[in-house]
């Protein structure tokens, strides 16, 4: 996402903590961003205790992230994971240089398009486990359209648009020779209507097609 046209500056809060101001919007409290972060995270206390994986929408300068990690550690020790999505690269740079915080359980997706995010296996595997979603309201509102796109993303359906994600070469080649401009389901239907199966991988795709309907006892 391109945020270079945004008017970005860093101010100091009354408590002496740096806070980013984007297009005139303060992303943290001008008085005490640390205390504000405690309040923000308190609202999620139940979810933080119940789950041990968290998706954070909006980084700002990461005061809420630091508080989240502190609380996660008290409940789950080292067994927690955080994934942060933030469109503004400047925020991330300042966060890195100003906040004395480094944690191997936290990973960042900075300035990535929804397509980039959902094309990453680790992210997808993380999301599929249904993490608790924690949004940083100021960042979320500032980049409302971006986060809306992230949350309402629809993965491309055409096989040709998914080739780069298919890891098995034989399967990729096979789909290339069917109808890559159609969806995977359409291709599987084409395959199942064929009278001649030409490779073991075709059997594999047909098995995949029927994984949901596996209670049938007879043919």
């Amino acid at each position: 996402m391109n945020t270079s046209k945004e008017n970005y500056e860093l101010k100091m809060s009354k408590t002496g903590h740096p806070i980013p101001v984007v297009n005139g919007i303060h992303l943290h409290s001008i008085y005490n961003p640390v205390k504000e972060a405690e309040g923000v995270i308190e609202k999620y206390s139940e979810a933080i205790e119940k789950k041990h994986e968290y998706l954070v929408l909006g980084l700002g300068l990461g005061y809420h992230l630091k508080e989240l990690v502190r609380r996660a550690k008290t409940h789950h020790g080292d067994n927690y994971k955080v994934l942060v999505i933030e469109p503004n690269a400047r925020c991330f740079e300042d966060y890195k240089s100003h906040l004395d915080f480094d944690d191997s359980n936290v990973s960042y997706f900075i300035s990535k398009t929804p397509n980039d995010i959902y094309s990453t296996k680790d992210v997808v595997s993380f999301l599929v486990r249904k993490p608790a979603v924690i949004s940083h309201a100021a960042s979320f509102n500032l980049h409302n359209l971006y986060f809306k796109d992230v949350l309402s993303y629809k993965a491309p359906k055409k096989v040709s648009e998914q080739f780069h994600l298919i890891t098995n070469e034989d399967i990729r080649d096979l789909l290339q020779n069917l109808d890559p401009e159609k969806s995977l389901d359409d291709n599987l239907n084409i395959l199942s209507s064929k009278n001649l199966i030409q490779s073991p991988e075709e059997f594999l795709l047909l098995a995949y097609k029927n994984i949901e309907r596996n209670q049938q006892r007879s043919f």
Binding site: Y118, S119, K121, V124, L127, V128, Y153, K154, A155, P156, K157, Q162, L165, I166, T167, N168, I171, S183, L184, D185, S192, K194, N195, L196, I197, Q198, S199, P200, E201, F203, L204, L206, A207, Y208, K209, N210, I211, E212, R213, N214, Q215, Q216, R217, S218, F219
Partner: protein, 558 residues
């Protein structure tokens, strides 16, 4: 050393059932190595089984979540599935057994055996047609789904497909956790001690509460009444057995409230269950996975077979077990209305429990009229059931015996079914059954000859082709009946449906060959009926001779 892979994409009960085949294979060939491919969610059932060397899983939940959620590319779903199977394909398998017999497993079987024929069960051919490893697989696929009930256990069919002798369950094949064994033993010993007021022998009766379907469940009221009866009987003590989940926990609590929380409730996961089963005297259970595990652990069980439970196909196999059911001769598991059973009652179950312990027929005299008590027994084909109590239906019983014998005949195994069962049926009944079947065979043979005749006339005119099709359809109608004679026709239908698409002349030649095979099969069916008649006549003679001897002995001057 033979490497087997069993594919079983069904539920936990089916996995325990499959273990019978795995245990027999291991007993008959101790050097063999057996691996299994299951869904990740069923993997926990394998923790109890000793003879499994390697486990492969497909994470169906992950595959389907990726597939169904618009956020994720279908590629992730496909990758997950392909990755699971690629690992399996890296191994060399001497035999792949498609145990779950569904579309997905059949295609997986084809994927893994694409370059050879080392499989048992059903798979797809390169022509995308169903292909069976042998006639036993045809029986499983075509007969077991059309005869209701089908009187051969699935487990036994797979024994035949794997060409291994059926071995009796042996708890040596189960993995017991030492920790759970100790806990179970000390807890159950304590119950026995507390309940043994006059040094009497306490029999602990485990009661399993839930199945996956309402129609198969023992109604709650019946369970409560049964517990009352057991509590009122000296020397008996009920124990509620539940799985560690909220649903069963609250059900157990509801039951226990009626008894001031005095009934022991045992909450056990699959790893602990063998230890629990090992420490009770009898398990009372509807059709559940636990029943199959009890069989493997050699724990006697009284199965209450209700609703959609397929009794003859997969009821308990335990030598000391029994099955209580209702309206045996009117059962249709296909028409499951998902309502709870109204015939089953606590008194029937209680009487059967007492019979299980002491085998005294007087316990069964007060069973309700619709109740049947059956006992598993082994014949040359595997496990089947004899009626210990309840109304007889001789024609249906002969049907069952004929289906068992003919199935083995058509597979080329020629296993004669226990003559004692035929002899237990009055000769006159066998005669009139045979007469009915012979009449049916006359009509069937007439239709077969008509079809052959019209086949010979094909090619002369369009009309002759039409006549042939009409004759063939008429002939295939014989496969729709539930008579044992229809077995030959059902298998014929399958062969016709799976004929590969060839040129006209080849097709006609293939059909002609199949029609002549069918003619031979009808003759074999008649031979089977004739044998039944002879065995029944021998039985009749033996009874007459026995009566004469008894009479002569009675008239001897003492």
């Amino acid at each position: 050393m033979k490497n087997y892979l069993f594919i079983n994409l069904k539920r936990i009960g089916d996995i325990y059932n499959m273990a019978h085949v795995i245990n027999s294979l291991t007993k008959n060939d101790p050097q063999c190595r057996i691996s299994v491919l299951v869904f990740e969610e069923s993997k926990k059932a394998l923790y109890n089984l000793k003879n499994i060397h390697q486990v492969f899983t497909i994470d169906r939940n992950e595959v389907l979540t990726f597939k169904k959620n618009d956020l994720y590319s279908d590629a992730f779903s496909l990758n997950s599935f392909v990755h699971s199977l690629s690992q399996v394909r890296e191994h060399r398998w001497d035999k792949v057994v498609n145990y779950s017999n569904d579309l997905c497993s059949a295609y997986i079987c084809s994927y893994l055996t694409a370059n050879d024929n080392n499989y048992s069960g059903i798979r797809y051919s390169n022509n995308n047609c169903v292909e069976s490893s042998d006639q036993w697989a045809d029986i499983l696929n075509d007969l077991s789904t059309t005869f209701r009930p089908f009187p051969i256990q699935f487990v036994d069919l797979f024994h035949r497909m794997c060409a291994t002798k059926v071995s009796r369950p042996n708890k040596e094949n189960i993995l017991f956790s030492e920790k759970h064994n100790q806990t179970a033993k000390s807890n159950f010993d304590l119950i026995r001690k507390n309940e043994s007021h006059d040094q009497e022998d306490i029999k602990l009766v485990g009661i399993q509460l839930k199945t996956s379907r309402v129609s198969k469940d023992i109604p709650l009221k019946v369970i409560k009444n049964l517990i009352n009866l057991l509590l009122d009987t000296p020397g008996r003590y009920p124990v509620i057995i539940i799985a560690p989940n909220e649903n069963e926990r609250s059900l157990a609590m509801e039951i226990n409230q009626e008894f001031s929380s005095s009934i022991a409730t045992v909450e056990a996961d699959l790893l602990a269950l063998p230890s629990v089963l090992n420490n009770i005297d009898l398990l009372v259970t509807p059709d559940t996975a636990i029943k199959h595990l009890a069989d493997l652990c050699q724990t006697p069980c009284l199965e209450i077979s209700l609703g959609a439970a397929p009794l003859y196909e997969q009821a308990t196999r335990g030598s000391d077990s029994y099955v209580l059911t209702y309206d045996l001769w009117a059962q249709d598991t296909e028409k499951d209305n998902e309502t709870s059973n109204t015939s089953v009652n606590a008194n029937d179950i209680f009487c059967c429990i007492e019979y299980c312990f002491y085998h005294n027929p007087t316990y069964l005299s007060s069973l309700s009229t619709r109740a049947h008590l059956l006992k598993p027994y082994y014949d040359s084909l595997g496990v089947t059931y004899k009626i210990v109590h309840g109304s007889r239906n001789y024609f249906k019983e002969i049907d069952f015996l004929a289906v068992r014998e003919l199935s083995s005949y058509f597979t080329g195994d020629y296993l004669y079914i226990d003559n004692m069962q035929i002899k237990s049926i009055p000769y006159s009944e066998v005669l009139s059954w045979c007469s009915r079947e012979k009449d049916r065979s006359v009509f069937a043979t007439r239709d077969l000859l008509g079809t052959l005749r019209s086949l010979k006339q094909i090619g002369d005119t369009n009309k002759s082709s039409r006549d042939f099709i009409i004759s063939l359809e008429k002939l295939l109608n014989h496969s729709d009946s539930d008579s044992p004679l229809s077995i030959a026709f059902k298998l014929f239908r399958t062969k016709i449906e799976n004929l590969p698409g060839n040129d006209f002349n080849t097709n006609i030649q293939n059909i002609e060959n199949l029609l002549y095979d069918l003619k031979d099969d009808i003759q074999s069916t008649l031979n089977c009926f004739k044998r039944f008649e002879e065995v029944a006549r021998d039985g009749q003679r033996e009874i007459t001779m026995q009566k004469t001897i008894t009479k002569n002995i009675d008239t001897l001057p003492l």
